[in-house]
Symmetry: C2
């Protein structure tokens, strides 16, 4: 996908985001691989299904947001932040597997390949999703066993993740999404986007900040920044569902509209949706002046330039 990570200014020669991210993406995937290898002895078939969805060439947006937000403050616990970034990806991947199930969105394709239940059957897909959600907590509650990080810091990060993955976030987002009709209003679509997408993205960034020892004031700004970026991301995702091809999306395009789902462009139109996404990313950056000129700024801008 040449050009998908291109910088925003054609006048200035910027290093491509894909190249900037390469080392950290490789580190994230090596760590995900190591976590799965530790588990493979327990049940080979389950490990295979977990690996299939977890190591499938995703862009690793949430883990990168976690790591690069951490890097705004730095500190001695970057290896712990890398593990926590993997936990974020586990939660995200679990949510995709369960959302694709026949009783949910019934999607046959995910990132250009058969979805988990198409490949392994429904029982294994449900269990692999459960296993990945739980694995996130196995990873994040054991950080002090592998890294010199205070348990209190680790527990705070775990609590941030758990809140975003629960009924205050992902669960309610999917429940609302399932019952949405295409005739909802703006408040409703914003509530869905916030729960199903924005809160986990905000949590990814907040976990990074917590593991860098950022102050409570900074954490609050990180969370606001992440919520705006997450809202922008989901608006762009809705736009891509209308405009994108299957190859670019890696999933079936037009599904939202065909299933009568409530999307942002359906409520306000495509132009207004694009403008709103750009406005949200501007707000996201404004909340976080520490990010100016960093990789994180590039990544947050990328959210609207091209959905993952």
């Amino acid at each position: 996908m040449e050009g998908s990570w291109k910088g925003r200014s054609p006048m200035k020669v910027e290093e491509p985001l894909e190249r900037i991210a390469a080392a950290d993406r490789a580190a994230i995937e090596a760590r995900l691989e190591a976590l799965l290898t530790r588990l493979a002895g327990q049940h080979a078939g389950m490990a295979e299904a977990m690996r299939y969805s977890l190591l499938d060439g995703g862009k690793r947006l949430r883990p990168l947001l976690c790591l690069w937000t951490h890097d705004l403050w730095g500190g001695p616990w970057r290896d712990a932040a890398l593990d926590a970034a993997c936990a974020l990806e586990c939660v995200h991947t679990y949510s995709l597997i369960h959302d694709d199930l026949p009783c949910m969105d019934d999607d046959d394709l995910r990132r250009g390949r058969p979805s988990s239940h198409r490949r392994f059957g429904e029982a294994t897909a449900v269990l692999a999703g459960d296993a990945l959600l739980n694995l996130a907590y196995e990873v994040i509650t054991t950080l002090p066993e592998r890294h010199a990080i205070p348990p209190a810091v680790c527990l705070e990060a775990a609590a941030v993740l758990a809140s975003a993955a629960g009924t205050a976030g992902l669960i309610t987002g999917q429940a609302l999404d399932l019952e949405a009709s295409p005739r909802g209003d703006l408040a409703r679509v914003e509530r869905i986007h916030e729960h199903k997408t924005a809160r986990l993205i905000a949590a990814a960034m907040e976990v990074g900040a917590v593991l860098a020892g950022a102050s409570g004031e900074a954490r609050a700004r990180v969370s606001r920044s992440g919520l705006d970026a997450g809202r922008a991301f989901q608006i762009v995702d809705d736009l891509l569902d209308i405009e994108g091809s299957q190859e670019a999306l890696g999933k079936t395009p037009g599904k939202d509209v065909n299933r009568g789902k409530l999307t942002y462009p359906a409520v306000v139109g495509r132009e207004a949706a694009r403008a709103r996404a750009a406005e949200l990313v501007a707000g996201s950056l404004e909340a976080l002046p520490e990010a100016r000129g960093t990789h994180l700024e590039r990544l947050l801008r990328f959210v609207v330039e091209r959905g993952f």
Copy 2:
């Protein structure tokens, strides 16, 4: 169900276990109710489905094991142990909801009522299970927000729970159970029982010990005691599946045999299975001399006298 909690010795007048447990069961259910009420504002339908399965008259074996193991050492954190006990029940309830799904064991009845997917549909049942698994971690990672408990202790308890609920426990247990044929050997049925039942029961007791500040040596004995008790519990469950009525079981009897599942009595016979369960409970008590004469001893004996 008069008599189901009766003591083992007809010669000695013992207070019925049901009466001994009444106050703590009421406390557990009040706490579960409070946790759900805090969540109800997020999504009413999801809260209803979570409540339906969580507050359905279960015996609360795992929470009681957690609390009463805690009480062997006592200490200032019993309120935190009560919250953790609720987290254990959330994990147990999630596993029942997902195990009952059509793509898993396809069970229409649970504790004498329609199973979650029969009552609310599959999508809601999958999500309610996900929500309860996650809720367990929301509860256990936030103990220091509600109780004066050190974060390090809380994190250790969370890690014990996460390990038992993951591929080292529940997940592999259910994966093995789904693929089992009735012709497996003893090693296989013991492996299934250990993963699908014993490790969460052992975790319930170990979490109680951790939250009482028990030593590492004591924790290891608690875990061994819990594994043996859990193995005995599952053998009795297998026996009840053959011998029990639907009213006593609260679920469809004969399902294991009809589905060609590998059960303990199918491998060694009913008499040998009964003898093995009694032997395991004796071993469970031997590993934990602190429990002699306590409510916990009564509860551990109850595991073989009558499955929950």
